[in-house]
Amino acid sequence: MNPSLKNIIEAALLAAGQPLNIERLQALFETDPPGRDEIRAALEELRAECAQRSMELREVSSGFRLQVRQEFAPWVSRLWEDRPTRYSRALMETLALIAYRQPITRAEIEEIRGVSVSSQIMKTLQEREWIRVVGYRDLPGKPAMYGTTRQFTDHFNLKSLDELPTLAEIRDLDAINVELDLGGVDAEAEPDAQNEELYKE
């Protein structure tokens, strides 16, 4: 068969077993590497071709990945004895806060969750390389601030943090206030300017 650019890329993605970015795909060619546009076009061709197959082309943070489609999970997951790890709600909430509010300190996470965050959770998240210390807050004790990594977006099938599901809206205090009118004692309470600020995102 004739090794088309599309087929070369497919071969490389399958053999690499990890996402490859455009630079690495170009580096497959010793001389005259195809331009970025050519690579992109070939990737599009590959993506279209996969429509009828059990795998799909997905762009995640660290590059392009060929992956088995979600529809096949019921069968494919029987390949392994172990069920995939289910993460606790505490861990997922901590991770969500880091993802959406980064950079964020542990104390800030605890403030929002209303409970302490176990060291075990932070350790697990760091060992999974989903989070890392991105700096230190200029506060007493210089608490570490955490952010998510490329492995995080890769794992959750995202190209970038922009693709995270949008956060629910918080109704602002004006709206709250209207509803408060229903409620007895504080019928006349009105939010001051400062409170309103708090609700702005």
Binding site: L14, I112, G114, P165, I170, I176, L180, G183, P191
Partner: protein, 271 residues
């Protein structure tokens, strides 16, 4: 979302204890609602992620709007649960007790007659509402995140054999000069340590921080070595390095090294 957003609540808390709104629904139905088969009780209580979660549960169960909660009843319900928890899981109690105290305080403040103008300014429940809403949205975000297709759970990396020879990794090239300069570096550094001789940098680190930031982009990574101008000599390099360290400390930039000894890349951090 900026850092300051996160810090405001804490400041608020110090000034003014929150106010709650908990419209614990029908107080009369309470005993009935609270009945949980004894053997399920522990499991049931373990499912709460903390006091905010428990409060949300109580509010939701009664199908109440967070914004419309009679404090007194919910406080009563809440305390009942906390009592149950205390019996079963003592170590959990502290955070729950703090919340119970907060609810009690809100309750008492709401019972106090207040001068009209003060009442205009603050609602003792506002802070609690804010915290509940804030928690609820991240609780939802965690569920949404968990529902994302995950690698190894929902989607699977495709990987097949490539049955041909792989080139063996060659060890790094080293020149004699590399060894010499490494030796010189280490000797000079050792000397510096022994004399406790720290020289004041003539170039301004702050100024360099600005220069570095202005050349960095948040979208693209810049090669670390590009930030150094050889013509400035060692001094210039030290100033740049100090500037970079300071920028990292202030979380204005991030460094990434994808593999040990690989090239280091820098980019500015989006606030």
């Amino acid at each position: 979302m900026s850092d300051t957003d996160t810090l405001i609540p804490a400041a608020e808390l110090q000034i003014e204890p929150p106010l709650a709104i908990v419209q614990g629904a029908p107080y009369t139905r309470l005993p009935h609602d609270l009945y949980i088969p004894p053997d399920a009780l522990e499991v049931f209580l373990e499912t709460f992620e903390g006091p905010l979660d428990l409060l949300l549960y109580l509010i939701k169960r009664e199908n109440l709007d967070i914004l419309d909660i009679p404090i007194a009843q919910v406080t009563q319900q809440y305390v009942t649960y906390v009592e149950l928890m205390k019996e079963l899981r003592l170590e959990l109690a502290a955070e729950y007790l703090v919340m119970a105290a907060m609810l009690a305080e809100i309750k008492s403040r709401m019972l106090l007659p207040r001068p009209a103008e003060v009442a205009e300014e603050e609602d003792p429940r506002a802070e609690l509402i804010r915290r509940l809403q804030e928690y609820e949205r991240y609780k939802q975000a965690a569920e949404d995140l968990d529902a994302q297709p995950q690698l190894g759970r929902d989607v699977f990396q495709a990987r097949i054999e490539a049955p041909f020879d792989r080139p063996r990794k060659a060890p790094p090239e080293v020149s004699l000069y590399d060894i010499l300069s490494a030796f010189k570096e280490v000797v000079e550094r050792a000397k510096m340590f022994s004399h406790h001789h720290v020289q004041r940098e003539p170039l301004s680190v702050r100024e360099r921080m600005s220069q570095v930031l202005s050349t960095l982009s948040a979208e693209r990574f810049t090669e670390f070595t590009r930030l150094f101008a050889p013509q400035e000599g060692r001094r210039g390099a030290v100033v740049t390095l100090l500037a970079l360290l300071e920028l990292i400390k202030e979380s204005l930039i991030e460094l990434v090294q994808s593999e040990p000894f690989g090239p280091i890349h820098v980019r500015s951090v989006n606030a």
